[in-house]
Symmetry: D2
Subunit: 341 residues, 4 copies
């Protein structure tokens, strides 16, 4: 069936797949000690121009969020997130399962800002019994956010500066980073991003890989014995080559950006189609996810013809649904969608 | 210094202390296998008229909340609590540390109600991706609440009925149970309480003991191998007699209720004094905690003469502070306070 | 460099890779809800002739061991394993990290037997303070073991019967299952295996897949809300198709067994070569791993020409090293090895 | 019934109890902020002559072991212990429950020595895949051990020196410290002990208190935000005064040593009685626990008249049982025992 349900409905980008096929019978060391993983790491460090960065390849988004947060925080610390943040809602409590509280800050558009975080911190440290509370040790944001919105460079600078003031770390979830960076609204580069946080990850799964996310510790701040910590959490795969070959391909000849570009181009057409059909946008974004309001009856009809994602009750009669584009979206898909709507 | 900072500022109630002294040199088995622990358990079961209840003595409130919630929930479940609930704010993330998310519901007066919880549940099960979210497996409330408010019998019945409908457990934190049950507003007995939840605890530390809380599993529903689970969490003390002797004393000749009664009587006078001095109440309660608004400057003055507790910013110039009474509050204390205010 | 270091040095078996390529652009649902995952599950259930079995695809071995053990055991239970068991030695403490003690039983050849386990259990339940100890709740064995040895059908029957007697579960780690089942020594089928345990996994990573292990709960005993438990542990990948397509291919036209057969055939030649060169075997096995003793000096020489694995000190001058074959081992590799030795 | 089952069969030492009674109605701050806790801490620091030590009062032994080990180790680290160590056997897996593997070293008499530990470490770091194993981060010993044996000063020096060489911490469990220090065999002081480890605890529960253990971090090495870490583990009690008053009393006028002395004196008589009755000692110790072999039939007889502890199967017909003395053992008790034997 026609699907706009998410950005992970296809397999690997053809160039990534080709790399897997081409290297398939090469004999390689396991657990990330293969040459392609090393090449991928070097390319990413060069891309962000950070010789002292450390890059680590993991398999999926929730796994990455859980491991980064748990290994970078002390036990007494929690992580500040938007109430709508992925770590707070859609990871089955993976952060709490690892022992850390998600400290929520309300938001309308998926973004949180330095001012709101500062209020949170001031209230916290003013509380007479803060020793009996969870210390805010990290700020988690996503770029783009769950609602497809983007932070400006200035907004990131403010948040990061606040983090330093309060000795907190800043972690940017880049599951959809390629689509964020190639958005017309984006005013920063991957290099800027690396300068404006302590750790971020370059999403692979949603941006051309079969599986894989590249965590970047931006300033020689990878937790000690990280290999062992990852193994202990069941997250190290024997054939690390899978991830190495993929990211090596994604960072060859600008493929990662090209993938983002296609997704954004298709998103633009998607927006036009949705607007032309008269749908009200819940969030009209510059990235690859578009959220519209739809009458429940109409939604049921539509669901027979096309897959969409992220249903959220809006009011008694309306629901918010999401259409996502990606590198795999075709003009044919868009044409079919136009006919369905 | 004069102190109304909390209900745990004194040692043990004299009758409890006497029991400890009287039994001190008796030779007893360890780990809760002593005769006084057994007697205390029987007395509590008799008090609530529940032969199939199981009673377990633990040392402190946070420990009890953490163990009850963690051992009664499955890993995929979290616990619904008021945003202001003790487990959500003042236990340093003990619930999350044990792997469970606290699922918050907003409240004004510390209470949550069946209607709000139902909305939460309906939204949850309507969400297309609820398998990727934390399942609500328990409702946690306290009696009295953090703000000294009380649930009516009808309110508890509604919540418990909802819990059964959604296969959730109801847990009542009774850290200050004696003061709740002896409040003029209270329309239920300990026996009613035991009928209206799956598990609750009878607070000892704040109600006459040096340390100790009695957890009551109301219908033969104590988690399997609970002894081992408690030991594994570092919560089993070798001289379980300490807790056994205390609760045996507290449940002899109605001492537990007498203790509550004194605290409530003193709270009434406390309220009168605060009102007579013209303070605005943030929460005027029928239990042993009273919350007033106070100008920050005045608060600083007052803090030199009397200890109070629970400071919470109200606005730029005002703070909410709490005065707590207990069985140890004397008329002399109240007179001195009147002079300070 | 020539490598016999392990059975995961190549990518995917060509037929598995072809399946990934052929299905790459098909639009599929995420998180294991795709059609290939469903087909793979059905094929596995048919293979073991167990309509009430439940099959779940995970990514790697340590992850699988950790999740199976943690979700099937209660908190108060630990898992019995050979001292040399993978979960006890080479998983960076993943089992303990999830809260469970590995209860060790000594072994010479990697196998443990019903008699030794029974002694352990009898001692345990005779101990006056067993409530203060970790309850044995599961037996973990691997087939083949870390040392390449195999259990006979009779041995498995005895262990499983003992497990039932003591209400413990039996878990068989089949990371190298293909090579075990195709060994000349093997006297059972995958169907037998499924009948003789509560849960086992069919190793993919070491037997033809890029990544992936298929967990089989043999009698409708998959832990409740397993999807959520897996997600919460960071182990659910968005593109579950990767695993689904792989296992669908592995269970089409007997590919899984063919893969095992190749590995075993190469292992036979490997053994011949090692024997002909006069090496003493530490463990001469009927599966795909061979362990020899080698003088330390000679080992250093050899290491320049060929990769081997699993070094373990034998005595001051000797080391145990391992040569592993797999589906990807070629006759050319064997010839080169013969020249190196 | 007459009991030699353990050293925790009585309540508090009369002087400790008196202190609790005398201070009972004083109004004090909670959570360890009371004046007696502060006084106890100062007295302990003075006793060990370590101005940069940090002292923290906890409630029980397993709790203390679990918290010290978990908060001082990194996630990737485990703790080396004798196979017979309390943390390895009789704490229901509390250490593993907190995520850390207990790395065992065999022993005959409950003691481990520098040489055996060194062998363990050398093997570990020689293993080609040690990154996939649990790093030894701490050595745990008890003084006296589970079998009542004592380390000499020289032995401790050797172990501590080895710990420093391998960047491991040394933790000494002093649950029965008073009896160890007052043994005739003891060649060190509490001050020596504090100099020869990173952390140790002064047992209260078994040495005169109702509950309580004083953890000493010997060189300004208490884990950051330790208050919060303790609270989060459910181990902070509201009326910290209980522990404060007890330890203040224990460290006033040498009471702690006096208590140890009485226990040792009674142990000497106990040994004489056991020997005179012709029992074979499994471990004849210089501290307060004596282990004898007894025929099973005779044991059953004896069990009707006196409580003993720690039963361990020796052979088909014999069991090892333990008799423990303490400050509460009376000459009358010993006389009665003599008659029973």
């Amino acid at each position: 069936m026609l699907s706009f349900s998410s950005d992970y409905i296809a397999g690997a980008h053809p160039d990534v797949l080709k790399a897997l096929v081409d290297t398939n019978l090469e004999s390689m060391a396991g657990y990330g000690n293969d040459i392609y993983t090393q090449k991928a790491i070097e390319k990413i460090k060069k891309e962000i121009d950070k010789p002292d960065a450390q890059v680590y390849l993991l398999t999926g988004g929730t796994q990455t969020n859980q491991i980064v947060i748990d290994t970078m925080l002390d036990d007494y610390q929690g992580v500040i997130s938007a109430t709508s943040g992925h770590v707070n809602v859609h990871e089955a409590g993976a952060i709490e399962f690892s022992g850390h509280k998600v400290l929520t800050v309300d938001t309308v558009d998926g973004k949180i800002n330095a001012k709101t975080i500062r209020s949170y911190l001031e209230l916290f440290y003013k509380d007479g019994s803060y020793e009996h509370m969870v210390f805010p040790g990290m700020v988690y944001i996503s770029y783009p956010t769950e609602y497809g919105s983007l932070y400006s460079k200035k907004e990131l600078e403010d948040i990061y500066s606040l983090c330093k003031e309060y000795q907190m770390q800043l972690f940017i979830d880049g599951a959809r980073l390629a689509y964020g960076l190639m958005s017309d609204e984006c005013d920063l580069t991957m290099k800027d991003l690396a300068r404006l946080c302590d750790v971020f990850y370059i999403g692979g799964t949603k941006c051309g890989a079969l599986a894989g996310e590249a965590v970047v510790f931006t300033h020689n701040n990878q937790p000690k014995r990280f290999n062992t910590l990852v193994k202990q959490r069941g997250a190290m795969i024997a054939k690390g080559r899978l991830l190495g070959v993929e990211f090596d391909a994604l960072f060859t000849n600008g493929l990662y950006y090209e993938i983002g570009k296609i997704g954004i181009d298709k998103a633009k057409k998607l927006k036009e189609i949705l607007a032309s059909k008269g749908y009200e946008f819940f969030m009209k974004t510059s990235t690859n996810q578009q959220f519209i309001l739809i009458e429940n009856k109409k939604m049921e009809e539509l669901a027979k013809k096309v897959d969409f994602g992220f249903t959220q009750t809006y009011d008694e009669n309306h629901t918010v649904i999401r259409f996502a584009s990606s590198w795999s979206t075709t003009d044919e898909d868009l044409k079919l969608l136009e006919e369905c709507l």
